[in-house]
């Protein structure tokens, strides 16, 4: 099954374009985009098992830690740069966003919205960092070290002068109803941004 954010993303990818996926996991998204959008793809990944899965899918994968920089990628060398559900796990999210906008003509960023009412309620009621099926880690062992909310990301885009082409916020059924559109930061679970300079 496709992850909620991935189905929406494919509509923003031009057929035949060149796509870089930072933290591409098992290569599932790139494989899907190869089949539906005939992209030429490069994935970046550091987990050996995931890299192996990419190879078995025939997805081009480079073993590279994006926390150590992306200087080896040229300016505007890709049509689209993807960062799906990885923003919260990188050391310097703002630097990664800057680099993505340098490398890609446009970028797609998705992240779990920490401003969701469930997180707020959990913290309010229990006074402890939220643990859920979606975020199953304790505060001390989580790879997610930079959680942010939809509003936080909006502010970052404004401060950096980043153009938000489309912002879609969905719930766990990846539906964006009128009430989610009205209160995205409260009701949205996954934020999906299509951005450029």
């Amino acid at each position: 099954m496709m992850r909620p954010d991935l189905d929406i993303i494919q509509h923003w990818i031009a057929p035949g374009s060149r796509v870089l996926d930072l933290g591409c996991g098992d290569g599932g998204l790139l494989e899907y985009l190869k089949n539906t959008r005939q992209i030429s793809e490069i994935g970046l990944e550091i987990d050996a098992n995931n890299i192996q899965k990419c190879l078995s899918k025939g997805v081009n994968v480079i073993e590279q830690n994006l926390n150590k920089g992306l200087q080896n990628f040229g300016d505007k060398s890709f049509d689209t740069v993807l960062l799906t559900q990885t923003l919260q796990a990188v050391n310097y999210p703002d630097v990664v966003i800057d680099e993505m906008l340098r490398i890609g003509r446009n970028c797609i960023v998705t992240f779990p919205n920490f401003g969701n009412w469930r997180s707020r309620l959990y913290l309010l009621r229990k006074g402890r960092m939220p643990v859920s099926k979606f975020m199953p880690y304790q505060w001390y062992d989580t790879p997610n070290i930079h959680f942010c909310t939809v509003r936080d990301f909006d502010v970052l885009c404004r401060e950096k002068g980043i153009k938000v082409i489309t912002r879609t916020v969905v719930d766990h059924l990846h539906q964006g109803n009128w009430y989610i559109k009205l209160w995205p930061n409260l009701l949205g679970e996954t934020a999906i941004y299509h951005i450029s300079r």
């Binding site: 060149r18 990419c54 190879l55 480079i62 040229g74 060398s77």
Partner: protein, 408 residues
């Protein structure tokens, strides 16, 4: 000593010597009028001739990459860990071709061959051959075998450099390039080690300016030294500690608990005590002597000199003002590159230079940096993650071959 041959071996193989009469013009401008190439093949070429893989050997390799020559063979070919039925380079799927490169000493025309012009051994008169020249000769072999396109060209170290040259010179003749433990060109340090090796050989009194065969002798000591220094660069510090640090308990106080005392840094002694003389005290010394000795018995000194020169001269970017990305502009295959963490001869950063150039050239490329302790030598060893990656990648190549067959 008869032995049973493992099930996943290609079994008993017989090399064949192919003769080529058309002169081969070399990069130096010289030409070889005619030459022989020693070749081994494993597996079966399919009807579409689309399942052929070329294996390029490194400095000390030859055509004998897999299997055994006789029942009595103690050791299989140099890449037997990778080539065979069910192995990463699966001979039940692929037709695998490996040859001894020109200038070699395992049957192909080289310094130990007779020069038809003089009637004596080529010796030092054998022209300097480059990676480009080898690839040109491999192209002729390809035509001889009736193969129009390799499913993949694969090689490690100097072999990987031949793969790189194939992808640049003959982009339409291959679908996949697999380069392992490779660099886009040698560093000053690499060349320095090669020069020490060459000086060891040429300074041997038995070298006779390369005409030792005519003098009925051989610069054995020089070749030993060359191999010893080379061998050090193929291993890693930690691999040597591991390999020669087995008798920790004999050397340390058994009641010691500090881990630093429990490690002897690979300083195993050969006979249990120091000689306080110039005898061989440590295991690592006798190991190097043994490796050098064995190598000197099978490898020709002039060939060693030629191979190190081919390494030193390799730099495909020379035709493109040093721009490696432009060098790959016409390449038309998919690339897989693999490096090993402890390789200090061609460390991961050097392989990354190729990966980055391919990215800049917008070529389809995958790259793996394998955690391995064995240094440069890791490319010849069955490192699990490395074997899995090759198996998986080549399975896709095999699927491609089969689906093409289904279409036609």
């Amino acid at each position: 000593m008869p032995k049973t041959i493992p099930k996943d071996s290609v079994g008993i193989v017989t090399p064949q010597c192919l003769h080529f009469d058309e002169p081969l013009t070399l990069r130096s401008g010289k030409a070889i009028a005619s030459y022989d190439l020693m070749v081994e093949t494993y597996g079966t070429l399919n009807a579409a001739k689309s399942n052929a893989i070329l294996i390029c050997h490194a400095l000390s390799g030859d055509h004998h990459a897999a299997g055994y020559h006789t029942d009595a063979d103690g050791k299989p070919g140099w890449w037997d860990t990778c080539i065979g039925p069910g192995k990463p380079i699966d001979t039940s799927q692929f037709f695998v071709v490996c040859l001894n490169n020109l200038g070699g000493c395992a049957g192909s025309t080289g310094p130990t061959s007779l020069n038809p012009e003089t009637g004596t051994f080529y010796g030092p008169d054998f022209p300097v051959v480059t990676v480009r020249d080898w690839v040109n000769s491999q192209l002729r072999l390809m035509h001889r075998l009736g193969i129009a396109q390799w499913a993949a060209v694969i090689g490690g170290s100097l072999g990987g450099m031949q793969v790189m040259r194939w992808s640049i010179s003959y982009p339409e003749k291959m679908r996949h390039a697999i380069m392992i433990a490779v660099a886009p060109k040698l560093s000053a340090q690499n060349i320095a080690f090669n020069e020490v090796a060459r000086q060891s050989i040429t300074a041997d009194p038995n070298f006779h300016n390369g005409r030792y065969l005519e003098h009925g002798t051989y610069p054995k000591k020089g070749v030993m030294l060359a191999r010893m220094v080379g061998h050090i660069t193929y291993l890693s510090d930690s691999a040597m500690r591991e390999k020669f640090g087995k008798t920790v308990d004999d050397l340390t106080n058994p009641s010691a608990t500090s881990p630093s005392i429990k490690s002897n840094f690979g300083r195993d002694l050969r006979s249990g005590k120091l000689s306080f003389g110039l005898d061989t005290d440590f295991q690592v010394e006798s190991y190097l002597h043994y490796q050098g000795e064995r190598f000197s018995e099978r490898f020709d000194a002039n060939t060693y000199l030629l191979m190190t020169k081919a390494l030193d001269y390799f730099d495909p970017s020379v035709d493109y003002e040093g721009d490696l990305a432009r060098t790959f502009a016409n390449s038309n295959c998919r690339f897989l590159l693999i490096s090993f963490s402890s390789d200090w001869r061609f460390p991961p950063e050097r392989t990354r230079e190729i990966v980055d150039a391919l990215l800049e050239a917008r070529k389809p490329v995958s790259y793996l940096e394998i955690e391995a302790d064995q240094g440069h030598d890791a490319f010849l060893l069955p490192v699990p993650r490395y074997m899995e990656a090759l198996t998986t990648y080549l399975q896709r190549v095999s699927d491609e071959v089969n689906s093409q067959g289904a279409k036609s």
